[in-house]
Point group: C2
Chain length 299, copies 2
């Protein structure tokens, strides 16, 4: 049993299994979720369930948030009374994926109240959350990161990549590479098919070389089997690309021409019937453009 | 000792070690190279050296070419008398990287002369050639590919991906993915740095997830250490992107927006002092654009 008391706010698809990992590691966890029933599923593992977010945090040493976006985090912290209810010196760890700018604002506001803040978004999906193998990208002060290491451990591999907001920036860098590499594989397989080669064999021939990537493996397979059921939607990928460009514009108007083009392509995919398909459905958008049709050919 | 007689035309940086692998596997090899001394280095392993390309092929069952580009292959085949000197039914395997259209033209011309053709470009560099671990992407008839399998085996892993030209198309697909993924990693690491995160730690944090790729590993490392000594130059990458777009325009004017943008970015890198840097130097071009300077900051 650890003596660190944790409040976990947002125990949904990701937060639920993360909180369960913390309970399994012996932490005392008070859970809160907007839909209370989702927090209650943690009671058999020993969680206490609170009626409000503010009530959940009042004795907590560490508060973890895992919410939809920056607006939701800001609302819970500053409109639902969490910030005001925090113990002096409490450490707030925001594991939601939000804009770097929002993360820096939250950190500054909490600091003014005598509290500490880390942004610590994750990559790895629900599988990673369940198995405790999430990649955790943290931004904030070194001492706060060191203090949080025992808390991160049951959830995955945490790395501090810079000051406040840097964790969110790393997450955006991750999403940029994912979104652009999906585009690379889409065009390569489309060209191969258009020229009469077998795209499945082309993928097989090139996967072991410099073209090899997780995206060629996983999303390339989805393209070949035309399995575009959403694991991450084109809409979410579009949001990520917009957030990356929004962050860049805040850094002395930093220009990212490839990300800009891909943002436009994901937007076009969404406009042509692909908003709800998997982000690997960019393959369908390249196909649609070349057939000059109004809708992507989603099965 | 195999009873297949091989003529190997072009025994340079790649062709030399490939011919050596064939000799090591017991094939009879007659070698020719424009600079004769390069062919002569194969004599201790048992190669016969011919004075002209036409003389090299006259008794050959299989002719392998490993030359600079399609123009060089066409010159050797049709201007230097190789096609005319081939035995009826001889199998010509072109392992050079040339345009798919050129490969189809060569195949048609040879077929008219009663000879067979496979395009079989490779990926894997001189290391792969020496160790016999090249990825070999073959296009042509199935029966000819089957007949060539014993010849491919000492050189690497061969896969037939479609009809004449399809091997070259697979190579272009490979180069497109490489060139675009370098762009993805460049922008992601530049954004991280511009926003005050440590790009080396960001790469470390994301490498195990969906953003993971050979390019993030190898070329990402070159970007972080600013080691842009050329393994493959920006100029060659630009040529590859142009060849991919040239091929696409021949397939009913197929549109590849991402490849088009990257072609322009590699062209801009070359124009701003980066022609001779490694293709991972696209990182420098993104940096240059944002500093509005006239030259990339090549160390």
């Amino acid at each position: 049993m650890h003596d660190i008391k944790i409040a976990f706010l947002g125990t949904g698809l990701m937060g639920g299994p993360q909180a369960r990992r913390l309970l399994g590691a012996g932490f005392s966890v008070t859970a809160w979720n907007r839909t209370r029933a989702k927090a209650e599923t943690l009671m058999p593992q020993g969680a206490t369930v609170a009626d409000t977010a503010a009530a959940a945090v009042k004795d907590a040493d560490v508060v973890i948030t895992m919410l939809e976006n920056g607006v939701a985090v800001g609302d819970v912290l500053f409109d639902q009374g969490v910030a005001a209810a925090l113990k002096k010196g409490a450490l707030m760890i925001d594991m939601s994926s939000i804009k770097p700018r929002e993360a820096r604002e939250h950190a500054a506001k909490l600091e003014a109240l005598g509290c500490r803040h880390l942004d610590a978004p994750v990559s790895g999906g629900t599988g990673g959350a369940e198995q405790g193998t999430l990649a955790i990208m943290a931004g904030g002060n070194e001492a706060d990161f060191a203090a949080a290491e025992a808390v991160f451990k049951p959830m995955g591999r945490a790395l501090r990549v810079g000051p406040h907001g840097a964790g969110q920036l790393a997450k955006l860098a991750n999403q940029m590479i994912v979104g652009i590499t999906i585009g690379a594989v889409s065009e390569a397989l489309q060209l191969a098919a258009a020229g009469g080669a077998d795209p499945a064999l082309v993928r097989e021939a090139i996967r072991g070389g410099f073209a090899g990537s997780k995206i060629l493996e996983v999303h390339g397979e989805r393209m070949l089997t035309r399995d575009f059921a959403a694991r991450a939607t084109a809409t979410v990928q579009l949001k990520d690309m917009n957030n990356a460009l929004d962050a860049a514009s805040g850094f002395n108007d930093y220009q990212l021409p490839i990300t800009t083009l891909l943002r436009d392509l994901y937007a076009s995919l969404c406009e042509h019937g692909g908003a709800g398909v998997d982000h690997s459905g960019l393959f369908l958008e390249i196909e649609r453009m070349n057939k000059s049709t109004d809708k992507v050919a989603f099965p």
